[in-house]
């Protein structure tokens, strides 16, 4: 029950006259990773790299899985910045922008709770999944857009810095049982889950959308206009901070045993996704920034390149929220139903339903089907979750 990746607020970018192919491709890669990882883990109990054991606390995460959620949440900030610039250029009032942002944030938070109830069953309604994080992220970005970018980066750094201390204060490990977030239905546990101990708590996960928002103009050029800044983005001075983050993550991993508990949050491993260790946050941030800059350089020129790749990636990106919801429904609901029918226990087949080969094959089939369905839905104008969000929020 590990929601490893995030649907992104793709609607803002969809409103832009010229989409950034790099964002579409990166988001499509992230959602493909997420689908593969969820199918492999939830259906076959396969965690990659020959590791055994459960998915969760203090476990070294195999790298592709770990990059899904950071990529989505980071791109949420980037997409929001591009959308914001576009709205301002179009002369939309600040009040209208604020209303739209807050509505989207609340929509995603509400959708996140509904998703938890419908997919993970009612007892996990407050597990603080990725949808609620992105909703909170949008609400935070509504305030952050009034701040100078330097302050936003400062806030993100502060969030990352205090997260281990908060985990140490609350005793993070006591909220996790066998690799899953296990909380009581009390105000304190629910609030702490959202702040520190849940799957995607504000500390430190909010740093991703904030960083994406603050760095977007420097990475992508200003606004949602055609990428006139291509060529400027891939120069070494601009990439140095991203390399610095990766190096800092590497150094943190080397020095991990010697670091005090208030820094490590009592985590035994340096690179963990649950909780998101400081090394993990720094490393994934640096990796995502480098990937985005590289793709921006490669794909966003005035002359389109790799049109076939972009043509298939763009629908996946535009409908990433729908795909996120759908892929859970198609592989988790049958699991619950068959388990209930065969043994009376919904989770009887959890992670033991099939061999890994079958799970990966199903994931690939789902991705192909999703890509075809997305293109078909766009041509036919079939309503999706994204269009529902736009209809409600805009």
């Amino acid at each position: 029950m590990i929601p490893a990746a995030a649907p992104v607020c793709s609607a803002p970018v969809a409103a832009a006259p010229a989409r950034q192919a790099s964002i579409d491709v990166l988001r499509a890669v992230a959602i493909a990773l997420m689908v593969v990882v969820h199918f492999a883990e939830n259906l076959a109990g396969w965690f990659g790299a020959g590791e055994s054991g459960f998915a969760g606390i203090h476990r070294t995460w195999w790298l592709p899985t770990g990059f899904g959620a950071p990529t989505f949440t980071f791109l949420t900030g980037v997409s929001y910045r591009l959308w914001l610039d576009l709205q301002r250029r179009r002369g939309r009032s600040e009040v209208a922008i604020a209303k739209g942002t807050i509505r989207r944030g609340l929509f995603l938070i509400g959708l996140g709770f509904a998703f938890n109830v419908l997919i993970w069953l009612p007892e996990d309604v407050f597990n603080w999944d990725i949808l609620t994080l992105i909703g909170c992220g949008l609400l935070t970005l509504e305030a952050a857009r009034r701040m100078p970018d330097a302050v936003v980066v400062f806030a993100a750094a502060l969030i990352v810095a205090v997260a281990p201390a908060l985990r140490a204060v609350v005793g993070y490990t006591t909220y996790w049982t066998q690799g899953y977030f296990d909380y009581e239905f009390t105000l304190a546990d629910v609030a702490l889950g959202g702040l520190v101990t849940g799957y995607f708590p504000i500390f430190p996960w909010l740093a991703y959308p904030l960083t994406g928002y603050a760095l977007a103009p420097r990475l992508m050029g200003h606004g949602a206009s055609p990428p006139d800044a291509v060529g400027q983005a891939w120069n070494w001075p601009r990439c140095l901070p991203a390399f610095g983050l990766v190096v800092a993550a590497w150094l943190a991993m080397l020095a991990w045993p010697a670091l005090p508990p208030m820094v490590t949050g009592n985590a035994t491993e340096a690179w963990t996704m649950f909780p998101a260790s400081t090394a993990y946050v720094l490393g994934t941030l640096g990796g995502v920034v480098l990937a985005l800059v590289g793709l921006h350089r490669l794909l966003d020129g005035a002359r389109p390149r790799y049109r076939g790749l972009v043509a298939w990636a763009a629908p996946l990106s535009r409908h990433s929220l729908s795909i996120y919801l759908l892929h859970h429904a198609v592989h988790v609901w049958p699991l619950w139903a068959v388990g209930m029918a065969t043994s009376g226990e919904p989770t009887a087949l959890w992670q033991v339903a099939m061999p890994i080969g079958w799970a990966l094959g199903l994931a690939a089939a789902f991705l192909v089907g999703a890509a075809v369905c997305c293109r078909w839905a766009e041509r036919r104008g079939v309503p999706t979750v994204e269009s529902l969000m736009r209809w409600i929020c805009d």
């Binding site: 009034r146 701040m147 302050v151 502060l158 609350v170 609030a191 702040l195 500390f203």
Partner: protein, 274 residues
């Protein structure tokens, strides 16, 4: 650096340099000569000099009174410059005829007076060209005034490039004002007593070309642009300071929020019994 007529001491030759011979238009006497003078603004002045013996009659007026006359040919040649911005000015003066427009000029007169008239014409053309350049720059500055004011009032849009642009505009406005101030003595040149042929030609050309009024209008434009640019620059500067203060305030707010979150987490962790 180009030395202009306004920067040059009065006893030096005209600012124009170069004297390239050009083909003479058809229908003119063999003694006619056509040359090109480069003005201090970089423009060129094609100057047609036609020696003609002095007659006893009244000075002819260069008007199209009949086909084939020298005056008609000259008039057609001067007026025929494709980039002419001003109507052609004709000045009859003591048996001489002078025609001028931006880029071309012609003198018909006794050979012994042609040199003086050429010098006066080039001097005037240089002054007029500089004034015209200043007018263009002032007009360009004026076009950006409204946009600059709107931008400087919008505190949300912070752009270092925009600040640099505003500063550049202020410098340009000051430069145009300085140029116009340097041109003022030439435009408002006092009459020389006793008058000379060259001084009278200069005076009449300045009068016909409305240099005084044009200089006044350009000065007003430059002053307006300078005032606006200065105000916008000041506003942008103050906005920059305000933005830094706002950033500091936001940083303090962020610190307070994080501190509150720490306190809340600490408080909640004491109330839970996991």
């Amino acid at each position: 650096m180009i030395t202009t007529a306004r920067d040059r001491p009065p006893n030096q030759p005209p600012a124009a340099v170069g004297d390239n011979s050009l083909p003479v238009p058809l229908g003119l006497p063999a003694a006619a000569a056509c040359s090109t003078r480069r003005l201090s603004t970089g423009e060129t002045l094609s100057l047609l000099s036609i020696p003609q013996p002095e007659s006893d009659g009244p000075p002819p007026i260069m008007t199209p009174v009949g086909p084939g006359r020298i005056e008609d040919v000259v008039r057609g040649w001067v007026s025929g410059v494709p980039s002419a911005l001003h109507p052609t000015v004709f000045v009859p003066l003591y048996g001489c005829q002078i025609a001028w427009t931006a880029g071309r000029a012609a003198v018909i007169g006794p050979p012994e007076r042609l040199d003086q008239l050429d010098v006066a014409l080039v001097e005037f053309a240089d002054l007029e060209a500089e004034l015209r350049a200043a007018e263009r720059r002032a007009a360009t500055l004026l076009d950006t005034v409204e946009g600059d004011v709107a931008t400087s009032l919008s505190l949300e849009e912070h752009s270092p490039a925009r600040g640099t642009e505003l500063a550049g505009r202020h410098r340009e406005a000051v430069a145009v004002g300085r140029r116009l101030a340097l041109l003022a003595p030439g435009v408002h040149a006092a009459l020389i007593h006793p008058p000379t042929l060259a001084s009278q030609l200069g005076e009449r050309l300045r009068d016909r070309a409305r240099l005084v009024e044009r200089h006044e209008f350009a000065t007003q434009r430059a002053e307006l642009a300078e005032r606006v640019a200065e105000a916008c620059g000041q506003r942008a500067f103050e906005a920059g300071i305000a933005r830094r203060q706002i950033g500091l305030e936001w940083a303090i707010i962020v610190l307070l929020v994080v501190q509150t979150a720490l306190m809340v987490v600490d408080l909640l962790s004491q109330r839970t019994t996991p």
